[in-house]
């Protein structure tokens, strides 16, 4: 038995918002792979829960008329990886979430939970940052959108206002069209492990594949929340696609990352692999974009 005070099951998004207004102390549970574990650990013991797990309307990936990819917040990791639209337009997201935990965790864990937990090591978060994802939130005042970088406030805290739930994650056409990316999760084990560092990059090359028209570099565990390496991106834009330039971009990430010492790894090691992973990921992304180094 879980130590919970009460459970309210939402029947629709509007019902979830109403339940959250009615029970202001209640916490949202989606797949529960963070919430239930923390309840067992005693961290969330005795709380009231509003379950949104039954809201099938928040599952699945769609292509909207303007080309925006909409990922319902309750879509599980395994369904994202298997989805043909994800495979076609942002395959790297499917690859990234295929590195979460093990198969059973990927069936229960949702992308909404992975972003609303505010955790820097969340495997989807760096890739969503790299693709300029937009977070859709539904609350008592209706729907609002916020860029993912503004959604994260501090470690474990995201911009969810009272009685709001995250209903979707949007990737606009201009964010994915012409880009190719790669995600590297550095961990001690190949499965059932949390990232020591995660690096997700994507590039847009010129028509002749010789120049970096755009470079996006994002990290998890390089700071208290997932982040973009803005200096390194700026340094890379407009450069010729050469091995030397990839080295240069990778070395510049030290101006952006602010990792810390933890039992998993030291700050110095994380700084070192921030550079190495960025360079490796860029080389692979260039190949995927049809270029060569």
């Amino acid at each position: 038995m879980y130590d919970m005070k009460a459970l309210y099951e939402a029947e629709s998004v509007q019902d979830a918002v109403r339940l959250l207004e009615e029970h202001p102390e209640a916490q949202i549970i989606a797949g529960g792979s963070d919430v239930l574990v923390q309840m067992r650990e005693g961290k969330r013991a005795g709380v009231e829960l509003v379950s949104i797990y039954g809201l099938d309307e928040l599952r699945g990936v769609k292509l909207e008329e303007d080309g925006t990819l909409r990922i319902g917040s309750l879509t599980s990791f395994s369904h994202i990886t298997k989805d043909p639209l994800i495979q076609k337009y942002i395959n790297v997201l499917g690859e990234a979430v295929d590195m979460v935990g093990g198969p059973q965790i990927r069936n229960i864990g949702t992308i909404g939970g992975n972003t609303c937990n505010g955790v820097t090591s969340a495997d989807s978060a760096s890739t969503l940052h790299a693709w300029d994802a937009v977070i859709e939130l539904t609350g008592p005042q209706g729907v609002r959108l916020t860029p993912i970088k503004d959604f994260y406030i501090k470690a474990g805290k995201v911009d969810l206002r009272p009685a709001e739930i995250q209903t979707g994650i949007l990737i606009r056409k201009e964010s994915y069209e012409g880009y190719a990316g790669h995600y590297i999760k550095y961990a001690m084990r190949n499965a059932m492990d949390i990232a020591t560092l995660g690096c997700s990059v994507n590039v847009k090359l010129s028509a002749d594949k010789k120049v970096f028209e755009d470079v996006r570099i994002a990290y998890g565990v390089a700071g208290p929340v997932p982040m973009r390496a803005v200096h390194a991106e700026e340094a890379g834009r407009g450069l010729e696609v050469t091995d030397g330039n990839i080295e240069k971009i990778g070395d510049t990430v030290l101006e952006d990352v602010t990792p810390r010492d933890s039992w998993r790894a030291s700050k110095a090691f994380r700084e070192h692999i921030s550079k190495v992973l960025c360079k490796r990921a860029l080389r692979e992304a260039v190949l995927r974009a049809g270029g060569a180094v």
Binding site: M1, Y2, D3, M4, A6, L7, Y8, E9, E11, I29, G32, S33, L36, V37, R40, E41, S51, Y53, G54, D56, R59, G60, S78, H79, K82, D83, G101, G102, P103, Q104, I105, N107, I108, N190, A191, M192
Partner: protein, 189 residues
């Protein structure tokens, strides 16, 4: 992928006025049979399967989603039932190891392979691993050894060292695939 729609009507949570405890009528299919029971909303699916239905193949190992000992198949996909609320099972199709038994108590091919390959020692992890194997085998796909390793990575086994488990799953996969091929060949003739 299309999500399955619930085949039966959803039920509401009820509060017992005396104790203040909340209950829900959970109706679901378990190993092919329609079942229903009132469950405490605080129960995990492991609690419900073990306590209400005596399905003791569903083990309590870590109870935090790490070890896979409580793994069951829900609507065709594997879930660790320790971190799945029993109330969510309403309307679902659930399979546990007990459901693999033949009409006269026979073992299934994958269970026999675990015995033949010495993939069982203490047996605590075995029901969970076999349910993952069932999902793998029923996909009808052929996987490499590395792919199988990844597909089984949600299970901890403290006894076997995993190699014999991989052997048993790989052997059964190959056997089923060659049987399927032979059957297809026969109908073609």
């Amino acid at each position: 992928m299309e999500e399955k729609k619930n085949p039966v009507m959803k039920h509401a949570v009820m509060t017992d006025p005396g104790s203040g405890k909340q209950y829900k009528l959970v109706r679901c299919r378990i190993n092919g049979v329609e079942r229903e029971t009132m469950v405490d909303v605080r129960a995990s699916l492991t609690d419900m399967l073990r306590n209400d239905y005596s399905l003791s193949s569903v083990k309590k190992g870590c109870e935090v989603g790490e070890c896979g000992a409580c793994n069951v198949i829900i609507d065709g996909e594997c879930y660790n039932s320790c971190i799945y609320l029993a109330v969510w099972a309403d309307g679902k199709d659930i399979r546990t190891l007990e459901g693999l038994m033949g009409p006269n108590g026979e073992l299934s091919d994958i269970q026999q392979a675990f015995i033949d390959e010495a993939a069982v020692q203490c047996g605590f992890c075995t029901p969970g691993v076999i349910m993952s194997a069932v999902e793998i085998l029923e996909s009808g796909k052929e996987y490499t050894r590395d792919e199988l390793r990844k597909l089984l990575s949600g299970h901890l086994c403290r006894c076997t060292g995993y190699e014999n488990i991989l052997n048993a799953v790989e052997k059964t996969m190959k056997k089923r695939l060659s049987e399927k091929e032979a059957a297809a060949g026969q109908t073609a003739e």
